[in-house]
């Protein structure tokens, strides 16, 4: 009896554990598959319910409606622009700062490090920040997506930690060859930091792509500055209050196809459009992100 039980136990455990893990994977993936199915299903058919894994009345009208009005198209462009510009600028400045603070003999190293690191622990809050943006004429200005978040103390620390692991001799020999600090940074440090820069770039890019709150706060009155996430947010709140005007307006110029497009189906299509870039870069993301998390963990 006892022997029997101890032989059976691993099988029972591994079977149950395996099933649980598969269940977790299904719970994680199902919503995406379902959203994809709804986004390709005719809106007036989706209302009848019963769409799970596959569209019943196949259509691409939802996607046509999403891109027809021009609103979503422009929002897509703004999202791409802020992601690219914001990532490149932020990465360059953050790593430049990280380089200077990795120089052990730099006399301002201590005070500047304190000034930067302290920003991780406090924030002035929503209202004072809002007034600052207003005073700097950043309200309803594309630059509000780029400028306020340029330097993150956390990213700076991650890059600095990496630079400090590089052999000191490389920098010394560059100095002997007559390169100034800026030259050294551009031609020695940046190329050597590629792995950590890739990690941090992905951190920043995902943050940029996913953010909507700055649009909501600082640029909501300017339609041509709207982002994909913000359009999705507007749709979400309008369909939750079962007021479909925004979504229907998008599909309005599709004439006959109009009733094939409902707020629910439009929302599904935009969700897919907004999630797609993330899903596409996900294989890279997961490689570098996990790496980056460990890099960050090493310091603290």
């Amino acid at each position: 009896m006892g022997i029997n039980k101890s032989r059976l136990e691993p099988i029972v455990f591994h079977t149950l554990n395996g099933i649980l893990m598969i269940a977790i994977a299904i719970v994680t993936l199902y919503p995406f598959v379902n959203t994809l199915a709804v986004s390709f299903n005719a809106g007036n058919d989706t209302i009848r319910g019963g769409i799970y894994l596959w569209p019943r009345v196949w259509t691409d009208q939802n996607y046509r409606a999403v891109f027809a009005g021009g609103t979503i198209f422009s929002a897509f462009g703004i999202s791409v622009a802020r992601t690219v510009l914001g990532t490149v600028l932020s990465l360059f400045l953050t790593s430049m700062l990280a380089y200077t603070l990795s120089r052990k003999d730099y006399i301002l190293r201590k005070p500047i490090t304190i000034i930067v690191v302290l920003t991780m622990y406090f924030s002035a809050g929503l209202i004072p920040t809002y007034f600052l943006m207003k005073d700097l004429h950043l309200l309803n200005n594309f630059l509000v997506y780029i400028i306020p978040g340029l330097i993150s103390a956390f990213n700076m620390i991650v890059i600095r930690t990496y630079i400090q692991t590089l052999p000191e001799g490389l920098i010394e020999s560059a100095k002997i060859d007559g390169a100034g600090d800026f030259r050294t940074f551009i031609s020695i440090i940046l190329p050597l930091c590629q792995p950590v820069l890739a990690t941090v770039a992905l951190f920043i890019a995902v943050g940029q792509w996913n953010s909507w709150f700055d649009t909501f706060l600082y640029a909501s009155s300017k339609q041509n500055l709207s982002t994909l996430q913000y359009e999705l947010m507007k749709l979400l709140s309008s369909s939750m209050n079962s007021n479909s005007s925004a979504a229907v307006a998008n599909g309005a110029d599709l004439g006959a196809a109009r009733n094939m497009v409902t707020p629910v189906s439009i929302r599904a299509a935009i969700t897919i459009v907004a999630a797609l870039p993330i899903l596409v870069v996900y294989p890279f993301l997961q490689k570098y992100f996990v790496h980056g998390l460990q890099l960050g963990g090493v310091k603290e």
Binding site: S6, P10, H14, N17, G18, M21, I22, A25, T28, P31, G49, G50, I51, Y52, M96, L97, T100, R103, D105, Y106, I107, L108, I112, I115, T119, Y121, F122, A124, G125, L126, I127, P128, T129, F131, L132, I147, L150, G178, G180, D181, R183, N210, F213, Q229, L232, M233, L236, S237, M240, N241, V264, T271, A274, A275, L285, Q286, V290, L293, Q294, E300
Partner: protein, 321 residues
């Protein structure tokens, strides 16, 4: 650029005897300063200067008046907040959702990490893990959209499954029952972050000395005893560090989920301090009160972070700051 480095050493060596080493160092670090000081100026403007705005909390601030014309009211807004039912209500919601998110987040991530670690098949394990942290990279907009459609009364998967299993007879309007709101927010966090949060524990588990398991096995420990007496103690210190660190963010229950999932019916359970600040500040225009609420949050957070830091120091764990 190529010529100047050659020219400068000549000058400096000539005067080096007169100049203090300090000045010489300063000279050699001109480029470092050019590279860092503009960024420092930027940080001072964007992160430090706005703190000046805190004076609004001690005034009856009106944007139309100049600084000297503002009416000073001392701690009036703070006193009002701490006796105001609406604020105490959002404070309660904030703390409750923070605690729920924290407890659920820790428990699920640790359990998931331990169970995933039991999977011996490498490829299978990697696949599950890769899938599990996919939602982490999606925005809260997308996640709340998914949550809302999963919970919907017409065809939402949660209601469908529960009805198929005969657990409920009628679809439940999950998002319209105030008492469910905290739980839904907690579950949404778990769905989005469990895989991501587990990464750090999985790393900690793999660094546990395998001989400890072998010793336990010789002592007759079964699988569950090994989890309890080897694995858990092995990740104890990282759990404690993270727990303490998270205590500092107890007033950071978030804004996005509550704002996006909340609606008129559940408002007494859904609003957090951040939403309060947004409502009073930018929608009602009571800048002073909103700033006071923001200060309250920041001051409590900083106090907790430093307290957490000193607790972890006393416990002999790594310092956090």
């Amino acid at each position: 650029m190529a010529n100047t480095p050659g020219a400068i050493p000549e000058q400096t060596t000539h005067t080096a005897v007169v100049k203090t080493p300090m000045l010489k160092r300063l000279r050699g670090q001109r480029q470092l300063m050019f590279m860092s000081l503009p960024i420092v100026a930027y940080i001072l403007v964007f992160s430090y200067y706005p703190i000046w705005g805190w004076v609004m909390a001690f005034q009856n601030y009106s944007p139309a008046k100049s600084f000297t014309q503002q009416e000073w009211v001392g701690l009036k807004h703070f006193k009002f907040l701490l006796t105001d039912d609406a604020f105490l209500n959002v404070l309660r919601n904030t703390i409750a959702m923070s605690v729920i998110n924290m407890v659920l987040g820790f428990a699920t991530a640790i359990i998931f990490a331990i169970l995933l670690n039991e999977i011996k098949h490498k490829f299978y394990k990697r696949t599950i893990q890769t899938i599990s942290y996919l939602p982490h990279f999606l925005s809260w907009i997308i996640v709340t959209g998914i949550v809302a459609s999963s919970l919907s009364v017409d065809g939402g998967i949660v209601n469908v499954v529960l009805m198929k299993l005969n657990i409920i007879q009628e679809p439940i309007m999950w998002l319209s029952v105030p008492e469910y709101f905290w739980g839904i927010v907690g579950a949404s966090h778990v769905w989005k972050e469990v895989g991501w949060n587990a990464i750090i524990y999985l790393a900690a588990i793999t660094s546990i000395d395998p001989s400890l398991y072998e010793a336990a096995e010789i002592d007759g420990a079964n699988r569950y005893k090994k989890m309890l007496y080897v694995t858990l103690p092995g990740i104890k210190s990282i759990v404690i560090i993270l727990l303490i660190m998270n205590m500092g963010w107890i007033l950071e229950a978030g804004f996005e989920v509550q704002y996006l999932l909340g609606n008129g019916v559940v408002v007494d359970w859904s609003q957090t301090i951040d939403i309060f600040v947004l409502k009073y500040g930018l929608q009602i225009g009571n800048y002073s009160l909103a700033t006071a609420a923001g200060i309250f949050k920041t001051v409590v957070s900083i106090t907790l972070i430093f307290a957490a830091n000193s607790i972890s120091k006393r416990l002999g764990e790594d310092r956090l700051i």
